[in-house]
Structure formats: structure tokens, C-alpha cells
Point group: C2
Chain length 283, copies 2
């Protein structure tokens, strides 16, 4: 069992990992080897102390070099659920699962709001993870909502499995094409159905389907962790980055504004120290 | 009048300044062009994201290059008092004074505890500032307590004015010498007197004197700002770095543990955003 699992490889996750490493803890850092598309997409960052006037790619390279220098590996994974098991946590990533004494949520925020019906049908036809659930829709009809061009490889993967794909990019300039792919350039109004998803409603049409994939950079924390206290979409934390669940901490954009690298880095550090305090108290 | 005065040039002050600059605010950054002796004295820093395995001098150089790149000047000053004037703040630095709509305290912490009597006699024989008050003790007998070798130039300045100096270095390896300087290698137990300071008590002797200089890297925030709420020596702040005084914010080590660069940088950023929010609400 890990001392801690850090969920997310943005600025907060990287900072938490560096501090847990310095404190000799046994942890996993789950996320993407590309860190976060919000980091690399930044045009110019003038207020991260110590790295004057860097762009997103330079900041990403600097963060990666910190991880490398400390000997920290990233475990590529899309977390689909975090479960409080009383004295530890279970972290699900599709069919993989991990156990840890503590968890740091550093999942960021997604600018896109949840669609009515999205959370209601999560696990009943709505999925956040192409890799985890794609096989369930072999030959079927799915709607794929995608918030960023950087996740188009997942759309292509789904199109290779599904019978019919209605693709809904929430950005401009997509290049997804395919015999079985139809594109709708509109924001879904709601996801509807009975026991399971049956249709997605748009302004000008309603699309019947077997499933809906919501491909987002970040998942709403309340969707990820049952029982987690959130307000206006943000995880509620105290100054030590503690959530309402004992042993579960949160840091970075997912705890609220300002959405800034410096703030995220600071909270990652604080959360890691709180993990150490928590583990020390447990002994 | 400034939009904001930032007091302190450690990691929190530097971070706050970069963000206020990015937001186009009119501010002064008061402190030392050497930043903070705690930054430069660090041996090895492995957990500040983006600058792998730097030592203190490298981190200091990186922070200075961020300030230079943003065109931010440091105003060398030792703040001796911050006064809430209702709709603005007065910031005293010896005989100089500044006015600002808001203040960010980023004063750090001093490992050395306050000595019994120190706060009681502040302004009545106890001074934190050689430059401000040295002239008052021309030809007189003073006790000079110094917490860091880097402030020995202030001790020498005081020795050039005073008739007799009892020098109390709270560190090893001092090189202060002089006809009128006697050294005591012991921690003062208390500062005593009547209306004004009369003596300093040590374990093995009691030294009568006209004044006491406490040369420290950081001054206790509650000594600096009348009415400021503090607990166990730390400024009490909420998650937005707001103190109990409207318009006064605090960031970095002075708000509590962990005493870490990343945490300080994060809070400096948050405090600067709170200043912007506060100024926007004022308009």
C-alpha cells in the first residue's frame, strides 16, 4: 500500500510529489507524462518566481526536469473513482486499482461546466475514460464530447471500436474524419434516459445513443470522490489543504481561484506536509 | 499613494510583486536588495518546482532575475511600524514614511523568540533599527543583540556612535572588535526597567544600559502592526491571505508552517490577487 497517491500532474501534483520525495514517502503520481495541457498551452508566464518570462513549453520542461532530478516517475492513468475505505483509500483507474493511506487530489479544473444529466448517468452510459470503457461500446452508437484537441487520439480510438460516433468538439479546428464519424458543432443541452443513457439533446436535434464519453482535462472532484464536500465546483479545503474526508487532501486549481501556477505549487507543498503530519499521527 | 506596499523580499514578497506587476498595480516592494538571508543561506533545495537541486545563491539569483525581467525595483528599507488609518495604511521606516491603500506583510519569521520585556519596552529604549534610532544613543551605553552575521555592519555602525557597546551575538564566529565593544556569548533572559529600559539580565550578570537594539531578520508581526491578530507568533489569515484588518494581507513564513519556498510563493500570489479584488471592490 502506498503512503500517498497524488492524482494529477499539473503544478500542484508536481510540487506535492517533490516534497513527498524529499520526505522519503512511498507514493505514486498518477497523470500524464505530458503533465497538463493547461501548462504547455500557456503563452507567457511572467509571475512564476525564478523562471522569468517562460512560455508553457519551457515551464513544462522545467517541471519535468525537477521530477527527473528527484527520480520521480509519472504513472500514466486516468482516475475514474476514489473511495474512502475507512483506514485507507481505493483509487480506480478503469480496470486498474491502487490502495493508499492518503490521497492528494490535484485534478485541476475544467472550464467546461457539467452538462445536465452528466453526473446522474455517470457509470450508466456516461464515461470519462475512453481506455477504460471503450470496449463496452464495440459496434454501438456513442456521442463523444471532447474539450481539447489534445484528446483527439482518444476520439480516434473510440471511432475504431464503435459502430457510429457523433463527435462533439467544444473547440475549433478539429481534424477528426471517418466513415462512421459525424460532427456536431454545438454544446449539448442535456443527457437523458431511463435506467441508462438513451439520448443527448442539442438545440437543433436530439441524438439517440448507447453511451456518452465526456473527454475532459479534469473531472469534477465531486464526481470522482463520493462524499467529498465541494462548493461551486471547487473542493472545500482548510489552510492545511485538508478536505472533509480524513486522509484526503486537495491542492491547486481544484480548490478554487486564483488559477495560478504559483498558488498551485504552494498548495501542493502544503498538502504534502499535511500528508506527512497525518501519517505521523497514524503511527 | 500606492495601491499596495509589500513588506519583505523573501519568496512571498517576490511572488506578490510579480503578480501585482502583471496586474498593472502601483506598488512598492520594501526590503533588501539581497532579498533574504534565509534564501541565500539555503544549502540545497530539491522541492521548488522548475528549479531542480538549486542552492540558496542560485535561487536568489533566479528570483532577482524574475524581478529584473519584470522591471521591479526593491526599495531598501527596514519597516518599523504599520498603522491602519481607516481607509489606508501608513508604513513607517525610521524617519521615512509611505502611504498605501493596502499592505502585504511578507516579513518571514525569526527563529529567535521574543525576549521577556522586548515588546513591552519597544519604543521606550528597545529598537529594531540601527539606522532609525542609532543617533539617539550617541555616546551612551547600549546592548546590541544580533541574530545573524549578515547584520554585523549595523553593529559596527552602532559602535561608531555609542560610547559603550555590549554585543550579544546569537550565532558563532563573530569578528566584531573595538575599543568600546564587549562581547557576551549568552542569551538575554529579560529586558527590565521602569518608564524606559534600564538593564538586560543574563544568567551570570546584569548589564545596565540606556538602550537595547534587537537586530533580527524579521520582526514579530504583532510588534509591527498594532491590532493585528496573531496566534503563537504567526499572523492569522484565511485562505485568501486576509488578516483581521481590512486591506491588510499576509503571506509566507509569517502566516505559519510549513516554512517552505513553494508555500511562500503560493501565498504571495494569492495575497496579490486578494489585493486586486480588494481594490476593485473599493472603486
Amino acid at each position: 500500500m502506498f503512503d500517498c497517491i497524488i492524482i494529477g500532474t499539473g503544478a500542484a501534483g508536481v510540487s506535492a510529489a517533490l516534497t513527498l520525495k524529499a520526505r522519503g514517502k512511498n507514493f505514486a503520481l498518477l497523470g500524464s507524462r505530458q503533465l497538463s495541457h493547461k501548462i504547455s498551452a500557456a503563452e507567457k508566464i511572467n509571475n512564476y518566481p525564478g523562471l522569468p518570462a517562460v512560455d508553457g513549453e519551457q515551464l513544462k520542461a522545467a517541471f519535468l526536469s525537477s521530477l527527473n532530478s528527484a527520480g520521480i516517475q509519472i504513472t500514466p492513468a486516468q482516475v475514474t473513482g476514489v473511495y474512502d475505505m475507512g483506514d485507507h483509500f481505493g483509487v480506480l483507474c478503469g480496470s486498474d486499482s491502487y490502495e493508499a493511506k492518503t490521497v492528494i487530489l490535484a485534478t485541476g479544473v475544467e472550464a467546461v461546466k457539467t452538462i445536465p444529466g452528466e453526473l446522474e448517468f455517470l457509470g450508466r452510459g456516461v464515461s470519462y475514460c475512453a481506455t477504460c470503457d471503450g470496449m463496452l461500446y464495440r459496434g454501438k452508437k456513442i456521442v463523444v464530447v471532447c474539450t481539447s484537441k489534445e484528446m483527439e487520439d482518444e476520439v480516434e480510438y473510440l471511432a475504431s471500436l464503435a459502430g457510429e460516433v457523433v463527435f462533439v468538439p467544444l473547440y475549433k479546428g478539429t481534424e477528426i474524419k471517418g466513415q462512421n464519424v459525424r460532427c456536431i458543432n454545438d454544446m449539448p443541452q442535456s443527457i437523458e434516459g431511463g435506467l441508462r443513457v438513451e439520448r443527448v439533446v442539442f438545440k437543433n436535434e436530439t441524438v439517440s445513443c448507447d453511451g456518452v464519453f465526456m473527454l475532459k482535462g479534469a473531472i469534477a472532484p465531486s464526481a470522482l470522490v463520493p462524499g467529498l464536500k465541494a462548493e461551486e465546483g471547487y473542493v472545500v479545503v482548510d489552510r492545511a489543504c485538508r478536505t472533509n474526508l480524513s486522509g484526503l487532501f486537495a491542492a491547486g486549481d481544484c480548490t478554487g481561484r486564483p488559477h495560478q501556477y504559483a498558488k498551485a505549487v504552494g498548495e501542493g507543498n502544503v498538502a504534502a506536509h499535511s500528508v506527512c503530519d497525518y501519517l505521523a499521527g497514524k503511527k
